[in-house]
Amino acid sequence: MRYNSIFDIIGPIMVGPSSSHTAGAARIGKTARDIFGRQPTNAEITLYGSFAQTYRGHGTDLALVGGILNLHADDEDMVNSFQLARDRGVEIIFKIVPEESDYHPNTARVRLSDSEGSLEAVGISLGGGKITMTEIEGFKISLSGDSPTLLVFHHDRYGAVARVAQALACKEINIGHMEVARKSRGDQALMVIETDQDLTNEIIEDVKQIDHVYSVALLTP
C-alpha cells in the first residue's frame, strides 16, 4: 500500500500548483532547514530531473526557498519567498542539472551554511506532498519526516546506539523505526530514529551529553 490513509488522498492542504513540485519541494527545504537548526545566510540548491525541467512553472524554486525560510507547504507567503529571502539576508544560488542522471526525477540537493557551519541534504518528492530525504551530510539514509525524528551524529563506537536508545527508554519514548549509517568503520556515523511520541528539548539535551555524540537535530512533522 503506497497510500495508508484517506488523508493521503484528501490532502495535503497546500499552496498550488503541484503537490509533488510545490508542496513536496517546500517540505524538502523545510526539512533541510530543521536539520540545520537555524536560518542559514547562504543556500545553494541543485535541481535534478523533472525538478530541473519544470521548476519555474510549478514554483518549485519558490517552494524550496520558502521551506528553507521555515514556511510550511500551506503558507500563502510562498509566492513571495524570494523577496522574503532578500529581506532576511539569505543569499540563494540555484544550480540546474537537466541532463539524465541516476537521480530520482524529482530530486533537490540543498546546501545550507552560515559562519558557524554547513549542512548538505538531498531529498526526493514522491508525489502527493510526500517526500524522502535520501542523504544527509553524505550519509545515505531514508527519512520521511512523517514522525518525530531524532538525528544523532556520533562517532562510530560501541555503546553509542545503546546509550541513545536507553536515554529514550528512560523517558518512555518508543522507537518506531531506526537506522544507522556510517562513512566507514570507526568513522563518523548517523542515527536516524523515528519515534511514536513527541520529543522534548530535555531529551535532546540528555542525548547530547552521551559519549561520542557530537551533534543532535530534531525533526517534528
Binding site: I9, I13, M14, G16, P17, S19, T22, T54, R56, G128
Partner: protein, 241 residues
C-alpha cells in the same frame, strides 16, 4: 474557491485566471443552458483550479492539479440539496475512500497514468460523493464512480509549457460536470456494465500503455500545437529575464 469566484485570480504566467468570475457573471444573466447544480459545480471547480494555478491555498483532492473537481461538486450539490456540514464531511470521506482504492490499485499521478489518473480519479471520487449527498446507496456510489471514470479513460496529460494551467484548469470544470451527470445517472438506477474495480484496473493498464510524451512531459498533444509551442517560448523567455 471563494477567492476565485469573487475576484479575477491570475496565474503567474498569465495563461489562466478570471474565467470563474466570467462564468459567474454569465450565470447571473439567466441565459445559461446548464444553470443550477452543474453550472455551479463547473464554476466552483474552475475557481479552485485558478487559485491553484496562482500558487494560492488549496487541498489536493487527490492531487493539486485536479483539486477543483471534488470541492466544486460537493459544494454545488451540498448547497442545492441543503446537506448538513456533517453530511458533507461524510461525503468527503466517501470520495477519499474511492480515491484510496484508485491510488493503491492504479495511480493518481499524471506522470504515471496521464490525466485520466488525475481528473479521472477526481471525477470518480466526486460522483461517488454526490450520490451519497443525494441519499443514494453505496452501490450507486460505485456505479457513479465507474461511469465518471469510464468517460475519462485514455485522457492524456499534455500541459502547455509544463504548467498546471492549460488544459488542466478547464479539465477540472469539465470533470465536475461529468461527475454530476454520472451521479444523476446512478441515482436513476443506471448501472455500469463494467464494475468499478475493473474500470480502475483498465485505467491503470491504459496509463502504462501511454507513451511518456503524453504523461506530463509536455512533448506531445496540446503542448506541441503551434499555439502551445508559441506560448511555451514566450513563457520561458519571460522567465529567463
Amino acid at each position: 474557491m471563494e477567492k476565485g469566484i469573487n475576484e479575477a485570480v491570475l496565474s503567474r504566467s498569465g495563461l489562466t485566471g478570471g474565467d470563474a468570475l466570467r462564468l459567474k457573471e454569465y450565470a447571473k444573466s439567466g441565459k445559461s443552458l446548464c444553470q443550477g447544480v452543474v453550472l455551479d459545480a463547473v464554476n466552483y471547480a474552475l475557481a479552485t483550479s485558478e487559485v491553484n494555478a496562482s500558487m494560492g491555498l488549496i487541498v489536493a483532492t487527490p492531487t493539486a492539479g485536479s483539486s477543483g473537481v471534488l470541492p466544486g461538486c460537493l459544494l454545488a450539490a451540498g448547497r442545492h440539496l441543503e446537506n448538513s456540514r456533517q453530511q458533507m464531511v461524510s461525503a468527503l470521506f466517501n470520495a477519499g475512500g474511492i480515491g484510496y482504492v484508485i491510488a493503491n490499485n492504479a495511480t493518481i499521478s499524471g506522470a504515471a497514468g496521464g490525466c485520466q489518473a488525475e481528473i479521472g480519479a477526481a471525477a470518480a471520487m466526486a460522483a461517488s460523493a454526490v450520490v451519497e449527498l443525494a441519499g443514494g446507496s453505496p452501490e450507486q456510489s460505485a456505479h457513479a464512480a465507474a461511469i465518471a471514470l469510464k468517460n475519462l479513460l485514455g485522457l492524456v496529460c499534455d500541459p502547455v509549457a509544463g504548467l498546471v494551467e492549460v488544459p488542466c484548469v478547464k479539465r477540472n470544470s469539465m470533470g465536475a460536470a461529468a461527475s454530476i451527470v454520472a451521479a444523476d445517472m446512478a441515482l436513476a438506477g443506471i448501472t455500469s456494465v463494467i464494475p468499478c474495480d475493473e474500470v480502475i484496473e483498465a485505467m491503470y493498464k491504459i496509463g502504462t500503455m501511454l507513451p511518456s510524451c503524453l504523461r506530463e512531459t509536455s512533448l506531445a498533444g496540446l503542448a506541441t500545437t503551434p499555439t502551445g509551442q508559441e506560448l511555451n517560448r514566450k513563457i520561458n523567455n519571460k522567465d529567463k529575464k
